[in-house]
Amino acid sequence: MRLAGVRRLLPATIGRLALIVAVVGSALLVIGAEATAGADPEALLRKARDASATTNVAGVVEVRWVDGDQVFVERVGARSRGDAYVVGRGEHVAVARDGLRYAADDGVATLWDRSVQSDAPAPGAAWNLEMDDPARVAGRAASVVTARDDDGRIRARFYVDRSTQLLLRRDVFDRRGEVTRSVQFVRLSIGAAAPAVPQLPGKGSEVAATDDVPDGFTAPDRLGAFRLLGRYRYPDGTLQVFYGDGLFSLSVFEQHGLVDWAAMPEGGRPGEVEGQRARTYSTATGTVVVWGEQGLVLTGVSDAPADTVQAVLPAVANDHRSTVDDVVDFVFGPFGWE
């Protein structure tokens, strides 16, 4: 009798429980979907920029990049406290405090003016941003923003922590939709009492912002969708022109002389920039392209998709062309002479 009662009650109880689970689950899905649908991807990426400067973290970051048919994966420790950051250790440590940056790998410390970033384009200035399905990164719930090009191809994806807006992961895609570069936390503790950040070297290579473009150098206002954000002189005379398109950044380093091709590092792939011999490398930072143009050695570095970088760099050469070059092209162009 007692057993029979249990048998009668059991289906009803399970049914009610299933109903409750279904209702609660649906409610959570609706809330989650509304949160995602209602989020402004551009605002979210802006918050992610700021969160980096206000969130104390300790964790492990994985950097993954592809070079041809090779895939490189490295993991480094990272921690921040206030406005101080330390990533990596030993010979491969990068330290930041305010505008000062120090990289032990090359022993170069550089001082930047934080104010130069104020006129950076909006994140959606050059890309079509949209919210994607939520995901989890390093065990944390993340909102996902996808950036598409004008042809609708996914070119980048950003994973932003739901509670702190900290950027947890960033993927860059090639034209075929393959991830070519990725940086993500694989372990993360937020708000923990992060260890102190070491002092930076007292003296470094101070980079001077300059409004003038020295004779023989070039600094176009725009390279495709990239807008000029700053010009800097290094003590050895190198000029760096720095650009941003809202999501990615691009630098062109300019040095007087001719490229010493025989002394260039191993690896990389041969190519051309505007008809000039070039060599392209894939590094943890991004795509690096070296070429020569009218007495200048030019090195372009960018975290943007490689094809985007290749598409905009010819604008550097075009800006450097003289009227004589244009006349020669006009006259001899139809004959295929150079």
Binding site: Q70, V76, Y85, R101, A103, D105, V116, L258, Y281, A284
Partner: protein, 159 residues
């Protein structure tokens, strides 16, 4: 060369188109091989053209009488005015040592140009360092940790 030794008289004949085909070919081969003889040829042509450009003047009545007598020149003064064109050409010709000095000077100019005139420096851009500098600049006002992480990993430049 050949059966025809190159002389200035032969060159004159060449200029006046008085040589047969074989002799003409020999002369042209010799001229092609010697810039010195080419210069002499230019002088011969110059002289011939100069003479042809002179106005025609009738001689004095007794001139033809003296020609017939075999002594066209009246006195020593007139004989002194005769110019031996062959010796004049030799006098005007640049001596061999002059050509050698000019060649040496030209070579010296080339050597000085290569050694002393500043040539553009050969530059090997420090790819890894510049890559890091870009990442460092990108981290300012941006997500700091993701930018610095690429600096903190060992640099590898592909295959």
């Amino acid at each position: 060369m050949s059966e025809h030794e190159l002389t200035e008289d032969l060159l004159s004949a060449y200029v006046d188109d008085e040589l047969d085909a074989g002799a003409r070919a020999d002369v042209e081969a010799r001229l092609a091989a010697s810039s010195e003889w080419q210069a002499i040829l230019d002088e011969v042509r110059e002289t011939r053209d100069g003479l042809r450009g002179l106005p025609q003047v009738d001689g004095p009545p007794e001139f033809w009488t003296r020609i017939m007598a075999g002594d066209p020149l009246q006195d020593d003064a007139e004989k002194d005015q005769v110019i031996d064109l062959a010796s004049e050409r030799r006098r005007r010709r640049i001596p061999r040592w002059g050509i050698a000095v000019a060649g040496a000077a030209a070579a010296a100019v080339v050597v000085i140009g290569v050694v002393a005139v500043p040539q553009p420096d050969r530059v090997r851009p420090a790819v890894a360092v510049l890559s890091n500098e870009h990442a460092a600049r990108s981290s300012v006002g941006n997500d700091v940790i993701s930018s610095l992480a690429s600096i903190a990993v060992p640099t590898r430049l592909g295959r």
